[in-house]
C-alpha cells in the first residue's frame, strides 16, 4: 500500500503518522506552508492558524501542522480561501505589532517579516491604539536573553521549549487574550537553563534576542557555513555566521543523530575563543629572554635544531586535534627526523560523562574518542616531564598540561598568551595553528559518531595547517 497525498496537484509520499506539514517538509515543499507555532523540535500546538490549508472534502480550512495526512488527501496550499485566511492572520498579528523592524535585531531573519511580504494584506484596518507592554519592552530575562514583549506573536514556542525540551519551566504566559503576556515563571530565579540561546533561535520574531549578538551585525551581511562545535565531546553541528573572516555567532545546525535542533550556551559563545584578541597568530621565537615574532622559516629552523640535538622528545597532542592531525603528526615526525618520539594525548577533563539530559558533556574537548582511535595513550596525570624537548600541540580546547624537567618546549596550535605564559622561559618556539572553524578534519564524538567538517571561515592570522607547519622542519 502506498501513502500518497496531493499537494497543489503533485503527488507526495508520506510516512504513516505524518501531519500534512511534515509530509510537505519531507517532499521539500515545506516553504509552501507558513507557520508560527509549529517548530520541528517542539510538541505541536496548533494555535496560530497560520498554516491552514484547504483539504478536499473537508468543509473548513485545516491546520497543516496538526492534521494527520491520510492516503488520497488532496491539499491545496494556494487557494483563494487559504490566501485570504493567511492575510487575515497576518493582519491580526500586526494589529499590535510595533513594526519597528529598523531597530529590531531579528530583521532580515524574521518570520513575521517574511510571511508578511508573502501573504500579508499590505494595509491594515486597525485604527485603535496599539497594546504596549511598557514594563517588558526591553527586559533582560537573563545575562543572555532580552525580551521585547511588544514584538511577541504569542506562538509559545519558547514556553514549550523550556517546558518540554530543557524542562526548566522558567517561562510562562500569564493572563489571556489581549492581556496575554510572556513572563518569567519566577522573577527571582530568572532563566535557569544552559540552552537560552535557543530561545532566540526559535522565536519567530524579535521578541527574544541573544544579548551577545544583539546589535552586533545585521543578519543579511553574514555568511553561513556548517562546522562542528568543539567545546565538548558532543560535537554539536553548528552554523558559523561570519563576515570577512570575523565570526559573529554560532547557531545550531540540525543533525538528528547528534544535537537535534539545539546547542548549549557555552558552545554557542565559544566562538569568542577563535576570535580572542590574545590568541597567538604569528610564529614566535625566543630571543633575549622573551618571545618575538619571526618568520616560518626561522621558526622551522629552530625546531629542526632543537629536535635534532635532543635525545628524548615527548609529544603531547590535545584531544582537540582532528584524527587527521593526530595521524599525520605521529607518522611524519619520526619519518622526518629518523628518530623515536614519545607520543601521548592530553584532555584535562577526566572521565567523560553527561552533564544533563540534553547535550552537554563533562569532557570539554571534541575528540577524545578520536585520540583513542588514533592509538594515542593518555598522558599519565597532568605532567609532562623528564625530556630534552616537549612538543605541546593543542587547539584551544584541551587543558594545558604542566611541564617539569624539560629543557625546551615547542608549542603548536591554538594558544593564548596567558596559556603560554604558564610555562615560563622554557618556551623556545610557538607555531600558530588553525582552530576548528578554520580547518577541515574529523572528530569522533562521545557517542562514537564520526563527523567531517570543512573550513567555515578563512583564518585571519599567519597560522597554518599542521602539515604545512611540519613542512618547515627541515630534514
Amino acid at each position: 500500500m502506498c501513502n500518497n497525498i496531493k499537494i497543489d496537484g503533485e503527488a507526495v509520499e508520506f510516512v504513516q503518522g505524518d501531519t500534512i506539514l511534515q509530509a510537505a517538509e519531507r517532499a521539500g515543499k515545506g516553504h509552501l506552508i507558513p507557520r508560527y507555532c509549529y517548530h520541528p523540535g517542539l510538541p505541536i500546538a496548533g494555535t496560530c492558524r497560520m498554516c491552514t490549508v484547504e483539504v478536499e472534502k473537508m468543509p473548513k480550512l485545516m491546520t497543516a501542522c496538526s492534521t494527520i495526512a491520510t492516503d488520497g488527501m488532496v491539499v491545496n496550499t494556494k487557494s483563494e480561501r487559504v490566501l485570504k485566511s493567511r492575510a487575515g492572520v497576518m493582519e491580526f498579528l500586526l494589529t499590535n505589532h510595533p513594526l519597528d523592524c529598523p531597530v529590531c535585531d531579528k530583521a532580515g531573519e524574521c518570520e513575521l517579516q517574511d510571511n508578511n511580504y508573502r501573504y500579508g494584506p499590505v494595509t491594515s484596518s486597525f485604527l485603535e491604539e496599539k497594546r504596549v507592554y511598557s514594563k517588558a519592552a526591553t527586559k533582560k530575562l537573563s545575562p543572555n536573553i532580552t525580551l521585547n514583549m511588544n514584538r511577541c506573536v504569542h506562538c509559545e514556542r519558547c514556553v514549550r521549549f523550556t517546558e518540554e525540551v530543557v524542562k526548566s519551566c522558567d517561562l510562562m504566559m500569564i493572563n489571556r487574550g489581549w492581556h496575554k503576556e510572556l513572563t518569567l515563571s519566577d522573577e527571582k530565579l530568572g532563566l535557569t537553563s544552559n540552552y537560552q540561546g535557543c530561545l532566540s533561535d526559535i522565536c519567530p520574531v524579535g521578541a527574544h534576542t541573544f544579548n551577545d549578538f544583539r546589535f552586533k551585525k545585521r543578519s543579511w551581511f553574514l555568511e553561513q557555513y556548517p562546522s562542528v562545535c568543539d567545546r565538548c565531546s558532543k560535537g554539536c553541528n553548528i552554523s558559523v555566521h561570519s563576515e570577512n573572516g570575523v565570526v559573529y555567532r554560532f547557531k545550531p545546525h540540525y543533525n538528528e543523530k547528534v544535537n537535534g535542533h539545539w546547542i548549549c550556551d557555552e558552545g554557542r559563545l565559544s566562538y569568542h575563543q577563535v576570535m580572542d584578541a590574545t590568541r597567538i597568530v604569528k610564529p614566535l621565537l625566543a630571543h633575549e629572554g622573551s618571545l618575538k615574532s619571526t618568520s616560518w622559516e626561522l621558526a622551522g629552523a629552530a625546531v629542526n635544531y632543537l629536535i635534532t640535538s635532543a635525545s628524548k622528545v615527548k609529544v603531547v597532542i590535545g584531544t582537540d586535534a582532528t584524527n587527521e592531525e593526530m595521524k599525520y603528526i605521529q607518522a611524519s615526525l619520526p619519518d622526518k627526523f629518523g628518530k623515536k618520539f614519545e607520543f601521548s594525548s592530553y584532555c584535562g577533563y577526566g572521565e567523560d560523562k553527561k552533564l544533563d539530559h540534553m547535550l552537554m558533556m563533562k569532557d570539554k574537548t571534541p575528540n577524545s574518542n578520536g585520540a583513542s582511535a588514533c592509538k594515542l595513550n593518555h598522558l599519565d596525570g597532568d605532567l609532562v616531564g623528564d625530556c630534552d624537548v616537549a612538543i605541546l600541540i593543542r587547539y584551544g580546547r584541551s587543558g594545558v598540561p604542566q611541564v617539569k624537567n624539560c629543557k625546551k618546549i615547542i608549542i603548536i596550535g591554538v594558544w593564548t598568551q596567558k596559556e603560554i605564559g604558564s610555562f615560563g622561559t622554557n618556551v623556545e618556539v610557538v607555531l600558530p595553528g588553525l582552530a576548528t572553524t578554520e580547518k577541515s578534519g574529523t572528530y569522533i564524538n562521545c557517542d562514537g559518531v564520526s563527523q567531517n567538517f570543512s573550513p567555515a571561515i578563512a583564518h585571519l592570522g599567519e597560522g597554518l595547517a599542521v602539515n604545512s607547519i611540519i613542512s618547515f622542519f627541515k630534514k
Binding site: 519551566c169 522558567d170 517561562l171 510562562m172 504566559m173 493572563n175 487574550g177 515563571s185 519566577d186
Partner: protein
C-alpha cells in the same frame, strides 16, 4: 502557610477521578478560593507543591481565568462579561453605568469593602447577553433598567445585613 487539612483531604478524595495531577489544579483553586475568598501567590505555591507541579503550571491557570480572584474582593462581587457576545449587546454601556454608580473603575473595590467590580471573559451564556454574575448567580439579558433594579436590590440586602447575597444557585454538594 500550607493547604488546610480539609482541602488536602478533599483533593485526595478527588485524585482517582482525575487522569493527571495537573487536572486537579482547577478543583484545588476553587477550594482555596472558597475557603479564603481569593487565590494568593502563597496558595499557588502550596498547590504546586501538593500536586508536585512546577509553580508556573498553577500560576498560568490562575491568571488565565478571570473567575479566580488574585486580590481580596468585596462582599458582593459584580462580574460583568466583556466578551464579544455581550459587548455586541451593549455590555460596555452597562460597565460605564456601573462604574458611575459605584464610583470605582472595574478591577477595583469600593472603599467600604462592599463591592468589587470586574470585567470578565465569556461566562458561557452568550445567547442571553449581556450577562452579569453577582457572586455565584447569573443575571442575563440585562439592560440599564434591569441593572439598576438589580443593584438597588443588592443594596437593600447589604443594608439588611444579609449574608447569602447572590448564592441562590450555589450548592455546596455539587462540585467543588
Amino acid at each position: 502557610m500550607a493547604l488546610s487539612k480539609h482541602i488536602k483531604d478533599k483533593l485526595d478524595k478527588l485524585r482517582p477521578n482525575f487522569p493527571t495531577l495537573q487536572a486537579l489544579v482547577i478543583p484545588a483553586l476553587h477550594e482555596v478560593q472558597h475557603e479564603t475568598g481569593m487565590v494568593s501567590e502563597d496558595s499557588m505555591r502550596d498547590i504546586a507543591e501538593f500536586l508536585n507541579l512546577p509553580f508556573m503550571k498553577v500560576r498560568e491557570v490562575v491568571t488565565f481565568y478571570t473567575m479566580f480572584n488574585k486580590k481580596p474582593v468585596g462582599k458582593v462581587h459584580y462580574q460583568l462579561c466583556g466578551n464579544i457576545g455581550c459587548w455586541l449587546n451593549g455590555s460596555d454601556k452597562l460597565m460605564d453605568h456601573m462604574e458611575k454608580r459605584l464610583k470605582i473603575k472595574h478591577g477595583q473595590t469600593t472603599p467600604d469593602g462592599k463591592y468589587t467590580l470586574s470585567k470578565v471573559e465569556c461566562l458561557g451564556a452568550c445567547g442571553s447577553g449581556p450577562v452579569l454574575q453577582v457572586n455565584e448567580d447569573y443575571n442575563e439579558n440585562l439592560d440599564v433598567e434591569k441593572l439598576d433594579q438589580l443593584m438597588d436590590d443588592v443594596f437593600k440586602k447589604i443594608d439588611a445585613g444579609e449574608n447569602n447575597i447572590g448564592r441562590e444557585t450555589y450548592n455546596p454538594e455539587v462540585w467543588p
